[in-house]
Symmetry: C3
Subunit: 219 residues, 3 copies
């Protein structure tokens, strides 16, 4: 997408990001008792949904998800892996979360850069960077008929790291200081923040009045 | 969108419409116990979703939601308001419903006009006017994992006022009689119809056979 | 869409396909106790959603769903029929399933061909053929707040016939052997496979480890 990184490296990073997102979709599909096609659809949607949404919105059609066949195959490999080995994949859930955090960091930055290349302003580009990183997971949860975990109070911070990474990328674009090194730093910032949120169970607050009630009704 | 109204006035009306739609999204988010990012996402989706859908369908990309930064900020203000003051916002729920009806009236008309400007036929433009007005609320309910209230039997009429306003706008376009005054009248028609539906609890019928059963099973 | 079939015939086939898909949407709306507008919206979404998604993704905007007014009317006729006669429509549910299978066969082939006409590669075109055929049903179930039956283990095969038909169409395009006869054969292949899946209750497997557990927890 961006000429800032070595294209081959960029492509491999994209594939890894799509793959780990797809793993999270496939695992949810197994938990929801879906069949093998349900697993594949959730894997594809989770891996490609965020980028697909961004590309449709910025007018980059047909989207990269449909022009690069590798992007389509990565979720199928995730599907096969989870289909045959899901108890083992569940067991390495922590490793999956780490890779997912890496995908989050990567896509919030590359999504922001691609949206800006298509002529969007910096704030709008950052919003699309967030949508690129988090959109697949939202579609995954909608298809699985659950409230998106992105929105839920009882899940560790997911949007904030992506917002930080996307904002950092937008700031770098604004300062004309975006290159392979600073881009990697912005992605690493989001990645590390997400890991810390997981490690320490950081959560976002709910509406002010709500909190006092909840301690009664939910405990 | 339309040169028929004073652009500054049009822009302010759009912002007010987006803001009140966003309030309804933020309130639902609080009721669903979402965190502050969930509130912001539901506010953005409710405020901007209908217009975003219209713009993607008619090929107006990047959509206005991403090119006018004010459109993005209005839901954030709604988020802050609901986050800190939601018991008070709930208390003025009736006022919110009145503003929401105004947003409905406004967007069903401006959505129809914009779709027609992009070359769609009059019936298709009216459908997109309806989608502009009601689409954000549908996305809001899908993300909150509820059956869209637009579709539900036990909610007061919401689609009908929007259909009336969009049809009136399409008729005015057909008669080449659309100007600031007639456009305002079309929006006011939808607005008043929605207020009457709320006041008198107007509902749409369900399938014929269904009604007799329902009186038994639901009471 | 495709000049391969007589355009008038193609158009009538499209209308029939949209109509039968819309019937399935309208029937689900009645089962979910929605009002007449909910029935109409689910009918429209089920009938037109798959093609709309394809057209937005390949950049064919405004989509056919909004440029051909007949496409919009077919679901309204389905709505009226189900609204007044739904117990009778339920009774001929088997006939509806047969027509739905015909729509599935038709759209997976024409969707693949249209995507290819817009410059997509063959694998991506086949994926969009599947999305054209199955997308409307997925949107229907999401709006009705259910896990899409396409993804569910306890439903007869739906994706596989569409994948077969779309793959056959892509192979014919690859071999430059697509004409009215072979196209009809590809659609018939998907149609017959779907009927067999219905007749014999063919289902797709779930994840390996899952099956043994499920026999205990679900029986």
């Amino acid at each position: 997408m961006s000429p800032l990184l070595d294209p081959t490296l960029q492509h491999w990073l994209d594939l890894v990001g799509i793959f780990v997102f797809a793993i999270s979709g496939a695992l949810l599909a197994v938990r929801k008792n879906l069949d093998v096609f349900g697993i594949a659809v959730l894997a594809e949607v989770t891996g490609l949904g965020g980028g697909l949404f961004r590309d449709v919105v910025i007018g980059a059609v047909p989207p990269a998800a449909f022009t690069d066949i590798g992007y389509f195959h990565a979720p199928l490999i995730a599907t096969a892996l989870v289909f045959f080995l899901h108890p083992h994949v569940e067991r390495i859930n922590k490793a999956v979360m780490v890779f997912d955090a890496a995908g989050l960091g990567l896509f919030c930055v590359t999504g922001t850069v691609k949206a800006h290349e298509y002529g969007l302003g910096l704030p709008a580009s950052a919003v699309l960077g967030l949508a690129t990183a988090a959109g697949g997971g939202v579609l995954r949860d909608v298809l699985a008929n659950e409230v998106p975990s992105l929105l839920r109070w009882d899940r560790d911070l997911y949007a904030v790291p992506a917002i930080i990474g996307a904002t950092a990328a937008a700031l770098l674009l604004h300062l004309d200081a975006l290159d392979a090194v600073t881009m990697t730093l912005a992605a690493a910032l989001a990645f590390v923040f997400r890991l810390l949120a997981l490690r320490f169970g950081w959560r976002a607050p709910r509406a002010w009045h709500r909190r006092s009630e909840a301690t009664e009704s939910e405990l």
